[in-house]
Structure formats: C-alpha cells, structure tokens
C-alpha cells in the first residue's frame, strides 16, 4: 500500500533497476570489483535521508567556463559547446543550488592527468577539462566547454570510448550520489562501448545529450541539453525531520 511507504522513503531510494549491474563481463575491470552478496536494506534514518549535497554545495564556488578556466589567458582549442539541463529528484522536482562537477578529455581525446597513456594525442595548454557550477532556483545548470574527442582504452582490441563528459552530483540525500557520463546523441560508437551498454536498455537514453537549437548561441557555440534525475528527495530549508 502506498500509505505504508509514506515517511519510509522507499520510493526515493536508489532504483537499482535503472542503474548498471556491478558485474558486467564485457567491462573486464568489473569482475574483481563487484560485490557478490546481496545488499542489506535498512530502514532509512537521518543518516540515509540526509547527505552532503547542501552543505558541500554551500562552500564550493562556480567555475563553469572550461574554455578559459586554465587561466592562461588563451582559449581552449575545439568546438565550443554549451551544456545545460535540469537536475531533478526522484519525484521529478527540481534540485536547486546543488553542485555539479565535471571532467573530460580535450578535443583530441586527451586528459590532463598524471597517469600515463599510450595514446599519442596532444595536450592543450589552455584546457584543463575540469569545471563546476551550481543549479539555479529551478534546478538548471550550465557549462561552456569544448566537445571532447573519443579515446582508446585497453578493455578489448581496438576499444574506443565514445566522446563523453564525466559528471558528479551529490544531490539531496546520501543515496542521491551520482557519477555518470554524458554522451552525444547520434554517436555511432555508443553501441560498441561496454560502459555505455552496461546501463539497462530502458535507461541508456537518459545519458544522451541532445542538440537543442534554442541553446545554441549565434556565432559562438552549439547547444546541448542534458537533464539528470537523482535518487532522493529535495527538502526545502526549514522542513523538519518530523514534518
């Protein structure tokens, strides 16, 4: 009965059937890093119903223009894109003032990371590939960045990651924690990528950014729309645990 669930928050838990399985043989590294026992379901307490999103978002600043935030005075090379969308909770309500963190490869498919890569693609001194911003009162975030390039990886012969942007959100509750990847609708490499394909068929399309002509800025950048739905429930300030 629905009434049994009121206050238990079961309807805002992380919905495992929307997410990839932990064990996914086509992505080899999952094999030793996936639990084999069942999770233990707990009655949600304040430890689960709260989360770091509000407090952490309050101490982080915006840094949403990845085309200039390397601070060199120069501009990053590549196709400029605006990426925007809404962050929603499990009931479809906007999550305002929440931090969205992103990282990505440059236009050539190279990360500014100390880890070595055998991929001989150039670094761009004017591109870090890291940014963060907050959603506004309607749950809307927006970045200006460079369309990332695809890059090879070692999972299987001739393996390539389709172009993607990594996103990290904390959201309203502990179980809202989401790290995902934004892909570009229409990319023919998606069906070949075990990481993209690890998500259930019914939910893969939720990782696609779509071209939106209303977001494009004339003579400046193409526009892409990407909405994000989190587990958990946004609580407006002043709502008490016993309301």
């Amino acid at each position: 009965m629905a009434s049994d669930r009121v206050g238990s928050g079961d309807d805002v838990r992380r919905a495992h059937d929307d997410h990839p399985p932990f064990r996914y043989p086509d992505y080899k590294s999952t094999m030793a890093r996936s639990p084999e026992r069942d999770m233990v379901t707990v009655l949600r307490t304040l430890s689960e119903r709260t989360g770091p999103g509000p407090a952490w978002s309050a101490v982080e600043d915006d840094d949403a223009d990845l085309t200039t935030n390397a601070g060199t005075g120069g501009r990053a090379i590549g196709a400029r894109i605006v990426v925007t969308g809404r962050v929603l909770d499990a009931h479809g309500a906007p999550v305002p003032d929440t931090l969205v963190e992103i990282w990505q490869a440059n236009a050539a498919g190279r990360y500014t990371h100390w880890r070595e890569t055998e991929y001989d693609a150039p670094l761009d001194p004017n591109f870090l590939g890291v940014g963060q911003c907050h959603t506004d009162a309607d749950g809307i975030y927006e970045f200006l960045t460079i369309r990332p390039g695809p890059y090879p990886w070692g999972n299987h012969p001739n393996a390539w990651r389709p172009a993607h942007v990594h996103l990290s959100l904390l959201g309203p509750a502990l179980g809202s924690r989401l790290v995902t990847q934004l892909y570009f609708a229409g990319d023919p490499m998606l069906e070949l990528d075990p990481i993209y394909c690890s998500a259930p068929p019914h939910s893969r399309h939720r990782m696609l950014a779509h071209y939106d002509h209303d977001v494009s800025v004339e003579n400046w950048a193409t526009g892409w729309r990407f909405d994000i739905v989190l587990a958990g429930e946004h609580a407006t300030p002043g709502e008490r645990q016993d309301d």
Binding site: A2, A58, W103, V229, P237
Partner: protein, 199 residues
C-alpha cells in the same frame, strides 16, 4: 492520492581512472580545523578487490554527523549559509582518493554523536561511506562503527547484519595513537566482502 510515481533515475557510470582531476583535491580528506568541537579521530583503511589486491584508483567519500549527532542538512534543521567563502568549518563531508600503490585512504575527523533511530531510541555513533572506483559501474554505500562504542550492542542496523559479517562494519581502535586511529579495510568482493547497504 499519495506522492507522484517516481521518475526514472539517470544511470550511474564508472568514475573511471581520471576522476582525480576533479574529485581528488588535496585537503578534502580533512574534515576538521582548530575550531571544530569534538574528539579528534583518524579513520583509515585500504580498498581491496576480490583478489585482495589494492584498488589503486578508488574514491572513498565520508558523510557524518557532528559531535552532537547533527547533520549539516535541512532535514536536521540546518540551512545552508548564503556563502561561506574560504571559511568552510565542519561540513560533515570528506573525500579521499585511494593511494595508487596501496589502495589506502584516511580521514581526519571527529567522533560523531549519536543519531536518532526512527524505530525508537538512538543509533550507535557511525560514519557513512560512499565507495566508487574504475571498474565499478555504480556507487556502494556502507557504514563504519567504532569498536569502543558500547552502544554497538544495541544498534538496530548493525544487529540486523548476520553476525559473521558484522565485523566488516566495525573499525578497530589502534593502541597508543593520539588522536585515536580506527582502522577498517573495505573489501569489494571475496570472503571478507564488506556489507553494503541499500540506501
């Protein structure tokens, strides 16, 4: 009618090997400063895979109540300040990428206070961890209890875990350290697999 039917959630994807660019900022594993009330503790361990090998590219995040058992969250009667700039204070949140050679992670924090149990009474003091890594397609959630807390014996969540797996949730206090150090290894798989919670 009750609440609207839930909206389908955006699927999780792995943090991959390069998350440190954005989520690996040095200092985020220290939750306290000189003004933070409460007993200082250090919580540390390793993140290990099913072969017992260190996970060299994992991310452990910590979420905990303050010394009086309060979370910095609107549901615990706390409103985010307009802007705190560099004056972070205690947020209750920390982040630590695992060390490349050893899979080790550590937090400098305070002993959390007890938080109410909606089923009645108080829960034993505990810290909440979120674990991610390259090779993990979704985040895992667990709790850490401290082995010197008598309230563990009556904690509903801890006691609901099968006795033979309970130790995977309890960090062990080391002798002689000041501030006290509590140690707990996290096992993603295998005979000592950590108990993960559906939150």
């Amino acid at each position: 009618m009750g609440r609207p039917r839930r909206t389908r959630q955006t699927p999780s994807q792995t943090v991959g090997p390069f998350f440190g660019m954005a989520l690996g900022r040095e200092g985020d594993e220290v939750l306290v400063d000189d003004d933070t009330p409460g007993e200082r503790i250090r919580l540390e361990g390793r993140l290990l895979d099913g072969n017992g090998d260190p996970v060299e590219d994992g991310l452990v995040e910590l979420w905990q109540a303050d010394a009086s058992g309060r979370y910095r969250h609107p549901l615990d009667d706390w409103d985010p300040p307009p802007s705190t700039g560099d004056a972070r204070g205690f947020t209750g949140f920390g982040r630590c990428p695992t060390a490349f050679e050893t899979g080790a992670w550590a937090f400098d924090t305070i002993r959390p206070g007890a938080v109410a149990d909606p089923a009645g009474g108080m829960q034993a003091p505990h810290l909440n961890l979120v674990v991610q890594a390259r090779g993990m397609l979704d985040a895992l959630f667990t709790r850490v209890y401290l082995d010197d807390e008598p309230a563990n014996e009556a904690d509903r969540v801890l006691q609901s875990v099968p006795a033979e797996r309970r130790a995977t949730l309890v960090a062990t206090r080391q002798d002689g350290d000041d501030p006290p150090t509590f140690v707990l290894d996290l096992h993603l798989q295998g005979p000592d697999e950590t108990v993960f919670l559906d939150v």
